[in-house]
Amino acid sequence: MSESNRRSKVKPLIYGFLSFMLGFVLFLLSICLVLKFTLFSENFMLDSMANTGYYEMVKDELNDKLKNLGHASGLPDEFFDDFIKDIDIIEVERNYVSAFYTGSSTLVDTDTFKQQLLASINDYVEENNIDKEKADEKNILYLVDEASSIYVKTVTVSFFSVIANYINKLQTPLSMTLVGLVVAALVIAAIIYFTNTYKHRRYRYLTYGLGAGFLSVLVVPIVVFSSGIIPKVNIATRSLYNLFVGYFNSMFMYFWILAAILLFLTVLGFIVYRQKYLKAINS
């Protein structure tokens, strides 16, 4: 076999491998980008909370739970309807989420809640002329403590503290990985582009890589949605369930968007390749 023959057989293998590597890097880059803009983003969490009606549902659930407590403690449903109106759940939740992403103190402030509830109960006792003997201070404080505990459990997100801890630790490594992957993708694309003598071949191998990246990114949401696993999550409250389902549906929407971008680039690459190829033949 002559030297030129051997070269002509090895070259496509090398460029094929580079295309594969480009596809792999684009796939990893897409995953990192999705994580960066969703799981690792405070704004994405706050947007998901707003879009899934989380705040309203938390307020309703808190109201229901406090009403249940009222059934065991002599307070009518209307009492809690009025009391809940004054609690700014959005502000409380925003502070709670921000605290995790900034790594500061994550305790929910219960002092204001307790003071407001105690004041409302005292007003209720006065307005309804309830006998002091029927409104023992110890029993009322016990009720306020129980209500406060329900309040904390309702406004906090289960396992969020554990997840947020990992998120804070992985923020910097993720950003560095993203930069590394972008550089790797550019280097591979540059090698393919600048080392190929024929223009149409540059675009052919780039298109192979982009196509592989597109298909790989597409596989992730297809597998997740076809398995139908997200709506089957076992979460005790409706607010958290809706937040979880809405959060992950939005997260996988990013995969669809990235897949669409890669598909567009693949088609564009193919069109350019075709033009260059036909031009080369004609000339």
């Binding site: 059934h71 403690s73 409104a135 298909l215």
Partner: protein
């Protein structure tokens, strides 16, 4: 014509489909092989958080209670031998949250739906049986809870000798109040769940009509009078 076909064949259209598919299979395969060993334990654990179907958040309840006609000798004290026996296989055992009966104490103006479970949803709609106790007819302790400001408010009128009626789809039961005690909520001895004789224990927060949460509970004990026995061997 010939020239045109040749140029289209050599444009490599097939490769633009086949090669990305092969690369995609390799990418997913390699990624899975790398990621799976380090995440398999996490994936197994995560599976515990998923169920077979979508979760139902409705606050309604399932009612399996269909009243049965009263026996002629209902309320007449029965010995174990005199009790009518119902095979358990012929009755529908309630699921968590089901309304499976009614609890009535006419002297206390109590008439409440009886649920299998004593959670918040059940106590909002009636009185609830603690699922660690036994259903009527089983020959053991039946422990029923209710809120003192709603369905069990009438327990403040409870007196010894008053009759408690529990109606279920498989039979009607009569119990007679034989003791009333005020106990601390942490006192475990207030109710003997291991008793090998049929008895009913009802409890609620105490004092009644008090504002706030109270540490005491009012226990009303009732002995079995009449009603069919459930045979769990058949």
């Amino acid at each position: 014509m010939h020239k045109h076909r040749t140029s289209h064949r050599s444009i490599g259209g097939k490769n633009f489909v086949i090669l990305p598919i092969i690369f995609c299979v390799l990418i997913i395969g390699i990624s899975t092989a790398i990621v799976y060993p380090s995440t398999s334990s996490f994936i197994s654990m995560a599976k515990l958080f998923f169920s077979d179907g979508e979760k139902d958040f409705s606050t309604g309840y399932n009612n399996i209670f269909v009243p049965v006609e009263e026996d002629e000798d209902e309320g007449k004290e029965q010995t174990t031998e005199e009790r009518k026996v119902i095979p358990m296989s012929t009755m529908k055992f309630p699921s968590y949250g089901d309304q499976f009966g009614e609890l009535i104490i006419e002297d206390c103006q109590i008439e409440a739906r009886l649920f299998f479970n004593d959670g918040a949803n059940e106590l909002n709609n009636g009185v609830g049986m603690y699922t660690g106790s036994s259903i009527p007819g089983y020959g053991k302790t039946i422990l029923v809870a209710g809120h003192n400001n709603t369905y069990f408010n009438g327990l403040k009128y409870a007196k010894k000798g008053q009759k408690v009626k529990i109606r279920t789809s498989y039979g009607n039961y009569i119990y007679e109040i034989n003791d009333i005690q005020i106990r601390d909520r942490s006192e475990e001895s207030a109710c003997n769940l291991g008793a090998d004789y049929e008895n009913l224990v009802m409890y609620t927060c105490y004092p009644f009509d008090e504002l706030g949460l109270t540490p005491q509970r009012c226990f009303v004990y009732a002995k079995f009078v009449s009603g069919p026995a459930l045979d769990n061997r058949s």
